[in-house]
Symmetry: C2
Amino acid sequence: MTKMNNKNKIFIDKLRSSGLRPTNQRVEISKFLFNRKKTFHFTVEELKSSMNLKRQKKISTATFYNTVHALKSAGHLKEFSLENNTSCYDTNITSHHHFFDNGKVIDIKSDKITFQKLPEAPKGKKIKNVEVVIRLENNN
Amino acid sequence: MTKMNNKNKIFIDKLRSSGLRPTNQRVEISKFLFNRKKTFHFTVEELKSSMNLKRQKKISTATFYNTVHALKSAGHLKEFSLENNTSCYDTNITSHHHFFDNGKVIDIKSDKITFQKLPEAPKGKKIKNVEVVIRLENNN
DNA sequence: ACATACTTTAGAATAATTATAAAGTAGTTA
DNA sequence: TAACTACTTTATAATTATTCTAAAGTATGT
């Protein structure tokens, strides 16, 4: 990247703050993830196939995993586990909760759930975060 | 099993109600899981190695997976996902919540957490269950 | 432009889980 | 109880998600 146009600055900054040099592949991934209005839920496989679908020169699996991990460690992505033993990532990094509806994930804004009572952390420990999953089923 | 002694009835019943014939291997697994006072959290690998450790004739991996899956489908075990993409099972099938403390899982009794506010299910859907995970970190 | 450390990539390696198919066993029936 | 049939067990192969490796390529500081 000899010259980086300014419109990518925000995506490049996410990489830099994750300790990653802004290579072409990474900038494309960062744009793909963060250049959107709505929250985005994905697994690495899904990200890879949807990005590579439209590309002549494919980005390798390892690069997707590396980039997503670094972004996650830096706090630009949230990770959560699906039932089927795959990691799912969320571009919404604000504290929030989820509906799980047969494999589909829907965000719940943090203020939609409040607690009347929460247990104390065991001694020597403190609460890092609280995550709620509301599992849904069909109404009939 | 020509003759099944009565003291195993409860463990055999769990198998039968899961659609499984009470073979020797399955009865041993069922006993190992349910013949205890405290709740038991395990992955299939952990179950397998701890049971096979003390046996001359090992039970195969497939039998552990089959049996655990059937018990889970019948509702005798609860499944939840750990961060590291392995399925964890819980012999406590009552509705309850969990502390996650660096890979260690601790049950939280259902009545220790109550809600002041919960979102409505999207239309056409209803809430099947609500699960809370409280992640812990060290105090210092 | 150079040097160097960081990257990309294809492909191998691992780990968790599921599938296969041959040999064994439970439960039913006569 | 003998015999039959469908269900089981097992070792092993296959799959899936993910991580590792090492050779070839690239960003960045000087």
